[in-house]
């Protein structure tokens, strides 16, 4: 099972598109309405970070299968300015853009797995997965 969708992110309308594509992709999986909402919210936060900080990037959506479990992985990546202090960016309420500072730590809480790789001047890649219960 390697269905994979790439959604280019260039504007706020693409944030919506990424959310809709993810909902459609996750349709056959056994997610509750609440879980689908959590996933869509996390995608929204990550895609918005791309628009706000990097200007452009992409969101990759992929169905996963590990042992008997299915899930969805979201990779949000850009070649933007990168994050200088990942530890601080993961703190609730820390923002360099007058946002609420909940995007990264909040999305980590919404998902089951959350990984962030970033280098200043080279970009940021966030990989997150939600598994079926």
């Amino acid at each position: 099972m390697t269905a994979e969708i790439v959604v280019p992110i260039r504007s706020d309308a693409d944030i919506l598109l990424a959310r809709q594509r993810a909902r459609a992709l996750a349709q056959p999986l056994k997610f509750s309405t609440s879980e689908l909402t959590l996933i869509a919210t996390a995608i929204s936060e990550m895609a918005r970070n791309i628009v706000t900080y990097a200007g452009k990037g992409e969101v990759l959506l992929r169905l996963e299968r590990r042992a008997a479990r299915s899930g969805i992985t979201i990779v949000a990546r850009d070649s933007g300015p990168g994050i200088a202090d990942i530890a601080r960016a993961m703190e609730d309420g820390f923002s360099t853009s007058r946002g609420l500072g909940l995007g990264l730590p909040g999305s980590k809480r919404l998902m089951d797995e959350f990984d962030i790789v970033s280098a200043v001047g080279r970009g940021t890649t966030i990989t997150m997965t939600k598994w079926e219960r």
Binding site: D12, A13, I15, L16, R19, Q20, S32, T33, S34, L36, T37, L38, A40, T41, S44, E45, R48, D92, G99, L100, L102, G103, P105, G106, S107, R109, L110
Partner: protein, 125 residues
């Protein structure tokens, strides 16, 4: 897509649609603020029953709408947050502090009706 806003007496009722872009939310804020001035509204009900996702941007925008309307001398109430959206907001850490909320449109209308009745009773004294 522009959010439909209905004028009902001294109230404005905005029915937020399921998929809102950032630009749509900003448009809604501008439409409500100018609508309150134009119609001399005393209350605004923002119905988010259809809204599928409330992320940090949407929450920040709705909170600022409520604050701006208060500064104009009117009152805003957010109604219809779906249980799964509420669950997601709490997980994300969104609080909407200082923003009035109610279960649904009916409760929102009841709030303003009660307020008007109380004010009318006060005038009689």
């Amino acid at each position: 897509m522009r959010t439909p806003i209905l004028k009902q007496g001294k109230l404005l009722i905005a029915s937020v649609q399921d998929s809102m872009t950032d630009a749509d939310l900003i448009q809604l804020r501008d439409d409500l603020v100018s609508g309150v001035r134009r119609h001399r509204s005393v209350g605004v009900i923002v119905d988010v029953t259809l809204l599928d996702v409330m992320d940090s941007f949407a929450a920040r925008m709705l909170r600022s709408i409520a604050q701006m309307i208060k500064l104009l001398g009117a009152e805003a109430i957010l109604v219809g947050i779906q249980p799964e959206v509420a669950f997601s907001m709490v997980q994300l850490g969104l609080t909407l502090e200082g923003t009035m909320t109610a279960l649904d449109l009916e409760e929102g209308l009841a709030f303003f009706a009660a307020k008007e009745a109380a004010e009318a009773a006060g005038d009689d004294r």
